[in-house]
């Protein structure tokens, strides 16, 4: 069964702005799916419609077979939403926020308490359960929204920019948590500006631009479409001029940093053999841009 199915989804706001121009999208059950796009592309509008926060102009939304028009309550039961902006009562204690959300989902108070404890413990917020939400750090507030979204154990979790503004350590622990959740069977859809996040977590991506899906493919398949990769090498000894290597473009960013453009049909082995032949010792290397970022820019460039 598909976790999410969008058919010809359109949204025109009151001022006439056409945010979605007929989106078609299918997310299979169990998928870890990224919805990417520049600011204003229509990602949040699409998520808003799926989560019943935005009224669609036309089109069809189905979540695990529940039609948004015919069975809106079934759709809402199946979704857990972690929005981009903090949207809880800042003056309520952390535990109460999660328990109340369980109550809105129809879970009896006693069970709601047990579930809130379990979610807050998993997200390292149990010690803060009696603290007013406004006293939490940014990362804790994001985790609180995840705990709240999961308290009714939804089969589909939608996260809109879940790691925006959180530090690397928290981001990594959130990545691990989400990967575990996905392994346990929860379908996850996320939007993110951090393309390395999508590349690290998601198996499938759709790119939305100007209200249309411009790409929708498996991550591996997409990455194989990259024609070249740009590597940045850190050197042991300073270099005055880059060596000439046939078929590759090299330039010195500074005496200890070398940038190399490698086409897909060229091997890295040859690059390192040539560098060794020129007596250049490489200490470390990294991609200049994430591979997905490169592809993203290419796709948006083509779409424009």
């Amino acid at each position: 069964m598909d976790a999410l199915e969008l058919q010809d989804l359109r949204k025109t706001y009151r001022g006439g702005h056409e945010a979605l121009k007929g989106i078609e999208l299918c997310v299979p059950e169990g998928e870890f799916f990224a919805l990417l796009g520049p600011n204003g592309a229509g990602k949040s509008t699409a998520i808003g419609i799926i989560a019943s926060l935005v009224t669609k102009t036309s089109g069809r939304v189905r979540v695990f077979g529940h039609d948004l028009d015919r069975d809106p309550m079934g759709v809402r039961r199946a979704i857990g939403l972690v929005p981009q902006e903090f949207n809880f009562n800042q003056f309520e204690p952390v535990e109460e926020i999660v328990i109340n959300q369980a109550g809105f989902q129809g879970i009896p108070r006693r069970e709601a308490r047990a579930r809130a404890e379990s979610e807050l413990r998993q997200l390292d917020l149990w010690d803060k359960r009696r603290v007013s939400a406004r006293e939490l750090s940014g990362g804790m507030k994001r985790r609180l929204m995840i705990a709240r979204a999961l308290v009714h154990r939804p089969p589909l979790l939608i996260l809109d920019e879940p790691t925006a503004g959180v530090d690397v350590e928290i981001r990594n622990s959130m990545w691990e948590f989400l990967q575990d959740l996905n392994r346990q069977g929860t379908t996850i859809i996320l939007t993110t500006h951090y393309l390395e996040e999508a590349e690290a977590l998601c198996r499938h991506i759709a790119i939305i631009d100007h209200g249309r899906i411009v790409e929708n493919a498996n991550m591996l398949e997409l990455l194989t479409r990259l024609h070249q990769e740009i590597l940045v090498l850190n050197l042991r000894q300073p270099l005055r001029e880059p060596p000439a290597i046939e078929g590759m473009t090299l330039r010195c960013l500074d005496p200890l940093t070398l940038e190399v453009v490698v086409r897909r049909d060229q091997s890295f082995n040859r690059l390192f053999c040539e560098l060794e032949r020129h007596g250049i010792e490489v200490l470390s290397l990294r991609n200049k841009k994430s591979r997905l970022e490169q592809l993203f820019m290419n796709l948006l460039g083509n779409a424009a």
């Binding site: 706001y13 808003g48 989560a51 019943s52 926060l53 935005v54 009224t55 809106p72 309550m73 079934g74 809402r76 039961r77 979704i79 939403l81 929005p83 902006e85 903090f86 949207n87 809880f88 009562n89 800042q90 109460e96 109340n100 959300q101 109550g103 809105f104 989902q105 129809g106 879970i107 009896p108 108070r109 709240r148």
Partner: protein, 255 residues
């Protein structure tokens, strides 16, 4: 237990905890203001004003004073709570959950009624220091109490749906509710008014509520009780229909 019933209970508990947590802002001011009203208008001035509708002036104003605080507090509870939910966006917690619009409305209105009840009881306690209460019909007192607070809680909900700023939630209480309450027969019997103004007063719904409440306590009223109850039920049904329509269309809460 039915999921919608649990959701309703959750909203009511959440709303109740909200006004209980901030009781110095929600309950105490009404008690202080009413005490002052009783001392100044009831005791100091009331004795010079003389009887009204064959009763002491302080006895006459007591039911209206209680109902005035019920009206103000029921309205204020819902308008401030729902608007602050919109402002902080935590109303989205309800919109994404499987909670029907009727349950959302009923939950907030019930929260408003409970605040009206809490403040009404506190003010009633103050009134008991000044007035000897022996309710003529306790059932009618309770019915009017609940209907009045439900009407104004629903009105507060509609105001909150349309409000775009904190200024918008104070306009109706200041320019509509307060004048209507003061002209609704709290401090005088409409028999004192010239014939034209008596007729104009009959368009003020608060007049019916105050008189029905006064009848419940003393068995004395300017207007027919059946008519008063019908008007309250009519207002409640109409305002509820408007509120449900707004929720259904997502006006003021969805883009």
């Amino acid at each position: 237990m039915n999921a919608y019933w649990i959701a309703f209970q959750t909203i009511v508990v959440k709303e109740t905890m909200r006004f209980v947590r901030i009781w110095p802002q929600t309950v105490l001011p009404a008690v202080v203001t009413t005490t002052l009203y009783f001392i100044i208008f009831g005791r100091l001035m009331g004795e010079r004003i003389g009887p009204m509708d064959q009763m002491a002036y302080i006895d006459f104003i007591a039911p209206g004073m209680i109902l005035m605080t019920v009206i103000t507090n029921s309205y204020a509870n819902v308008v401030s709570s729902f608007y602050s939910g919109k402002f902080q966006r935590h109303v989205e917690e309800l919109l994404v959950a499987p909670v029907p619009n009727g349950v959302i409305l009923a939950g907030y209105v019930c929260g408003g009624i409970l605040r009206g009840l809490a403040v009404g009881l506190a003010v009633g306690g103050v009134a008991a220091w000044f007035v000897d209460f022996h309710p003529h019909s306790p059932l009618l007192v309770l019915l009017v109490f609940v209907l009045t607070s439900a009407v104004f809680a629903t009105g507060g909900f509609i105001n909150a749906v349309f409000a775009n700023s904190f200024d918008d939630i104070s306009i109706v209480p200041t320019f509509v509710l307060t004048p209507l309450t003061y002209l609704g027969g709290v401090f005088y019997s409409i028999d004192l008014l010239p014939a034209v103004w008596q007729k104009v007063s009959l368009f003020n719904p608060i007049l019916y509520m105050v008189n029905a409440f006064r009848y419940g306590i003393y068995g004395v009223s300017d207007i027919a009780i059946g008519w008063a109850l019908a008007i309250m039920l009519g207002f409640l049904a109409s305002l509820s229909a408007v509120a449900l329509y707004l929720l259904h269309k997502g006006i003021g809460i969805k883009s």
